[in-house]
Amino acid sequence: MIRFVSTLAATALLATTAQAATEITWWHAMGGKLGETVNSIVGEFNESQNACQLNATYKGGYEETMTAGIAAFRAKQAPNIIQIFDAGSATIISAKGAVTPVADLMTENGVAFDKEDYIPGVRTFYADSDGKMIGMPFNSSTPVMYYNKAALAEAGVEPPKTWEEFEIAAPKLAEKGYIALSQSHGPWIWSENFMSRHNLPMSDRNNGFDGPATKIGYNNEDLRMHFHKLKEWKDKGWYGHYGAKWDDNKVPFEKKEVAMWIGSSGSFGGLKDTTDFAFGTAGLPYWKSIVPGEPLHTFIGGAALFTFAGHEKAQNECVAQFFTHLTKPETQYFWHKETGYVPVTKAAYDLAKTDGYYDREPDAEVGILQLSEASAEWNKGYRLGFYPQIREVLYREYDKIFNGDVTVEEAFNTIEEESNELLARFAKTTGM
């Protein structure tokens, strides 16, 4: 009888501890295979401890996820953690009081946090102008160039480091029946990272870090020159523009119509599954004529995790615990291997190196090496308001340049005018 009662008591106790697990929610934009990798990280976290139960929900693309977060916050139904993409960083970081900076969250909950643990390109992008990290870098990527090894060998060319070299290689590839190049994200690759790689200012006010920017930097001689070249290359059959969607431009590379494709370092894992040929990875080419010395590191792409303010202390503790789990070298290394996104901490990078991962897969290191290149004034990051809409303007005008509706000059005048208008509107909404 006594034993029976004690079992009963024990079961009751167990039941209460199970109930007492603090539930936290995370809205993310990782679909497909990435979503499955996210789920296994979340599952690992939930099994590793009893105090917290993390529920991860796929909310669609980056834009939809951010919008869902905004709507939920306005309705006081915000999740604990939300994944916000690079272009949305101004939107979320300028929302004073809406998010708890990750640096504060960690220290408040007694977790050691040192931003120096993070690799340079990652450290600055989601930080405020004083360098305090607001978002926890999560899926971090950077544009890299994939090339079809057989195609390049057939034409007898090396993967170009600079666009000058590209201009020599492209006709040889064309001769063998290949379109030399395509790329999958006009705003990210041809605009934002064109600026970072060549150390050009994206906008006034320190790329928007010092306060709401009012003038976009895109309408400059160098970028216009680049687009004149792209148009010329397209007309010569060296460059393919297959549409605005990511896949439109990737598939021709997979089908061996295009010899080189610029995508994300995070595309690596997927590309291994969808191609049946050997491909290599190289850095994003740059114009020697613009940066005579070494090129600069590119912007970090992808997204970061932000913590909405206004949740219970117990939940914040769980978020801090999850972030600790997420940034553990083992978790980061697993994520890096599975997806191709770069590890965000130095420790994880070291783990991958000592494990010999880059000896086996040298291509996997290209992204992180590129992010570790020289820092300069203008490649820390950018903080521009309504930037998702500015990206739409870029998409639209680039489509028009390539189908011949407008000249490069006309397109960039429109881009400048509309972007500045959007920036001004955003500045007014934040009341600064």
């Binding site: 300028s94 929302a95 605005a244 998702p388 489509d399 189908n403």
Partner: protein, 291 residues
């Protein structure tokens, strides 16, 4: 209104209450919010806002992209309406004229009414996909078709999918309209005009005009609003922003772009447009009822 009604009692209030309540909570209040927001500039999170008067309206109405979106919406609506009505009318006249198999044809022509616009959009997306779609190579035999980069091709394909989705509804109405024409009229017409074509234009067409006009309003409304899921699945306004309709732009700017003030102003402008459409529709419908 009925001349013969029940007298005053609390009952009608009870009967109308559920609907009224739902409309007030889920329509009137959000709509009022939209109107109010259109006079403010607000940050996406609702943390701060400032009154800007008609600024949102002037900036929307002076935006060249908005102008081209409005023009596209008009053009697109006109083309979708004309084609969807034309195809449906032709099919209805033929289905009305034949004796054998009329019922089978009717079934085979109305089912598409039930297909969700989003599904039509997705199937359309795949059919014209350059890698797996059979129509991509087929169109390319005829001309240099590329709906991903060419505005005209994208518009063409979007229009075709939208027409596909709307033919069934129009067919149902036209067929019912045709079958409502009295036998005596038809027989007289058959005696008077030997040519089927002339008979159609002189007798059938005028008798169908009321149905046609009513359908025109329905189709314009469809092209304005109900094509939203097709655009969202098929083009997302691309390429080069050439396939944006006004509704899709409100969604894109306000929902995805988090510019609440600007998109609310666009919503209010749309509301005025729909009000005009509704007035036309109502006046017409009321007249038809009292004939």
């Amino acid at each position: 209104m009925k001349r013969n009604q029940f007298g005053h009692s609390p009952l009608p209030y009870l009967l109308i209450a559920p609907q009224l309540l739902i409309i007030l909570i889920f329509f009137v209040w959000p709509a009022v919010q939209s109107v109010r927001l259109s006079f403010f500039l607000e940050d996406p999170w609702g943390l701060s806002r400032s009154f800007v008067g008609f600024d949102n309206y002037t900036s929307v109405l002076s935006n060249s992209q908005y102008h081209s979106t409005a023009l596209f919406t008009l053009f697109f609506s006109a083309v979708v309406t004309v084609l969807a009505l034309g195809v449906a009318l032709l099919l209805a006249v033929k289905a009305d004229g034949i004796i054998r198999g009329a019922k089978t044809y009717r079934v085979l022509l109305i089912w598409a009414y039930a297909v969700a616009p989003a599904v039509a959009g997705m199937i359309g997306l795949f059919l014209a996909n350059q890698h797996i779609g059979p129509l991509f190579p087929l169109f390319n035999l005829l001309w240099d078709f590329d709906n991903k980069t060419d505005s005209a091709d994208a518009t063409f394909w979007l229009t075709l999918v939208c027409v596909w989705k709307q033919v069934s509804v129009n067919f149902v109405y036209f067929l019912a309209g045709l079958q409502g024409i009295p036998r005596s009229v038809r027989e007289a017409a058959a005696l008077d005009c030997q040519s089927g074509f002339r008979r159609f234009w002189t007798v059938t067409f005028p008798l169908l005009a009321p149905t046609g006009f009513f359908l025109m309003v329905i189709n314009i409304t469809y092209a304005f609003f109900d094509t939203f899921p097709i655009i969202d699945t098929l083009t997302r306004g691309r390429p080069g922003g050439s396939t944006f309709t006004l509704v899709y732009k409100v969604y894109k700017d306000g929902f995805l772009g988090a510019d609440l003030g600007g998109s609310s102003a666009q919503s209010v402008i749309l509301m005025v447009v729909v009000m005009l459409l509704t007035i036309v529709q109502f006046r017409f419908i009321e007249r038809k009822i009292h004939y």
